[in-house]
């Protein structure tokens, strides 16, 4: 591992231009960053240790939203969400990701900022535009079974690996950010990530030195929620395809719907086309097919990942059928699921 200089952030007010210096990295849980540093995929010259940053370690309930501190661990958040009406989707997504050991260390902001698990990104002997801009994308013409079909470019087809982010996209999360000059802003998570285009190394809209301080989750009416993840083994594997969904049916028609797709996008995928196509309709197989076909019109396939459209189709059918059934069985779950 390359040597680095270590500094510590104790309070948000200590954030300054040095913490955002070029080739400096914040380290929260470190479960992804340390791995990447061992492999020399990441070689920061400075680490800013957030272990003593106590300002953002809590979940605070407000009238209209929950504020999840950046340093809240995935375990804390999963436990909280599992007992919080309207956040069942988030709990399911978190618990389907990683292992207890990793969730105990991984933080909310760190989860959002984790890097892709593309094999070629990890292999420093292979060309990768995300790791080394301008070197090319090995995945496009090689084994790409785990790679994306939405939001791709000929420069990069790596998927975003987070389950939590897929659920948060579906739930309309926003990020609270603070810049080294103290300037604060909020940004919808749906607008946070960048598709690769010609600059795959730019993965999000964080400004230099900017820090995620919290995730703002709007309070949801209960609705029926489901996160379903399809993967190569039943636990501790990244999604080949995942679907996050919340549904409210009224008079046998979709009155509220939110979705997120994981394992298929270069960013956690918010399938707005599918959602719009299904609103107000009956959830027939034909309507679901038509709505997904409209989304898939923009998809690109690269050989080994050609199985993803049918897998996504089957997964979406399963999830929406289950939620519709749940709505019929538990009418108390009626209500505005998603209001933004």
């Amino acid at each position: 591992m390359q040597p680095f200089t270590l500094t510590h952030l104790h309070n948000t007010s200590e954030l300054d231009s040095t913490s955002g210096a070029k080739n400096s990295r914040f380290i929260a849980g470190g479960t992804n960053l340390i791995d990447l540093m061992k492999l020399q995929v990441e070689t920061p010259s400075t680490l800013v240790n957030l272990s003593d940053w106590q300002d953002e370690t809590r979940i605070v309930e407000h009238d209209e939203h929950f504020r999840i501190g950046a340093m809240v661990t995935n375990t804390q958040l999963a436990n909280f969400a599992s007992t919080t009406p309207g956040l069942s989707l988030l709990s399911q997504a978190l618990l389907s990701g990683a292992t207890v050991q990793l969730r105990n260390r991984a933080t909310t902001a760190g989860n959002l900022l984790q890097r892709t698990r593309c094999y070629y990104f990890y292999d420093t002997a292979k060309a990768c535009n995300k790791r080394e801009p301008g070197t090319g994308c090995t995945a496009v013409n090689s084994e790409n079974r785990i790679h994306a079909i939405f939001g791709t470019s000929d420069k990069c087809i790596a998927t975003h690996p987070s389950d939590m982010a897929v659920a948060m996209i579906a739930l309309g999360a926003k990020l609270a950010l603070v810049a080294p000059n103290g300037e604060k802003r909020t940004l919808p998570l749906r607008h946070f990530y960048c598709t690769p285009g010609n600059t795959p190394h730019i993965e999000n809209n964080l400004k230099e030195g900017e820090l995620i301080t919290a995730v703002i989750l709007p309070k949801q009416a209960v609705g029926s929620q489901y996160y379903h993840k399809v993967r190569d083994r039943s636990s501790y594997a990244f999604a080949l395809v995942s679907v996050a969904a919340g549904l409210v049916m009224k008079d046998n028609k979709v009155s509220a719907l939110t979705l997120g797709f994981g394992g298929v996008g270069t960013v956690p995928w918010y399938p707005e086309t599918t959602i719009n196509a299904l609103m107000g309709t009956e959830l027939t197989d034909a309507n679901i097919e038509k709505a997904l076909d409209a989304e898939l019109a923009s998809a690109q396939f690269y050989g080994s990942n050609n199985f993803k459209p049918p897998l996504l189709r089957n997964t979406l059918h399963k999830v929406l059928r289950a939620l519709a059934q749940h709505q019929r069985t538990y009418p108390q779950h009626e209500g505005a699921l998603y209001e933004n």
């Binding site: 040597p3 380290i27 340390i34 791995d35 800013v48 272990s51 207890v100 050991q101 105990n104 636990s235």
Partner: protein, 170 residues
Amino acid sequence: MSIDTGPTVTINGTPYALPTDPRTTLLDFLHQNLALFGTKKGCDHGQCGACTVLVDDERINACLVFAFQLTGKSITTIEGIAKNGELHPLQRAFVNRDAFQCGYCTSGQICSSVALQKELADNAPSAVTFSEDYSPREDISERMSGNLCRCGAYPNIVDAIEDVIALEPQ
């Protein structure tokens, strides 16, 4: 911002000064500085769980944390699980159930299952907790999925854990 100044960490009840090289992971610190070799290095990338230890009673992978991140924390390794010369009930159950073959993953498996006992007492959910076809064995497997056993001793590992930790059918 402040520069590092002589922090300590407590391991199995004894405080130690942290290593001067910030690149030192907890796992390497245990091996290289303290000669505590019970915690195993398997993959060194957080994929196998052989290095599982407890930090303030929560399980983590010792290979994926720098020692400096644990300033002021209390760490229990496999060497600290037995008390007063008596094996922990889970250690005894692993012996009774022959829940290992080569034994390389066992210290991680035991530390993990000790933490699992507390997680269940705290009603922490797993991915299968609310499953319609819930089974306690499946729940144990899910909660232990961060600990691989290349010998495939999984059925006996689950047996050993079931002997000590009673999960109620939902």
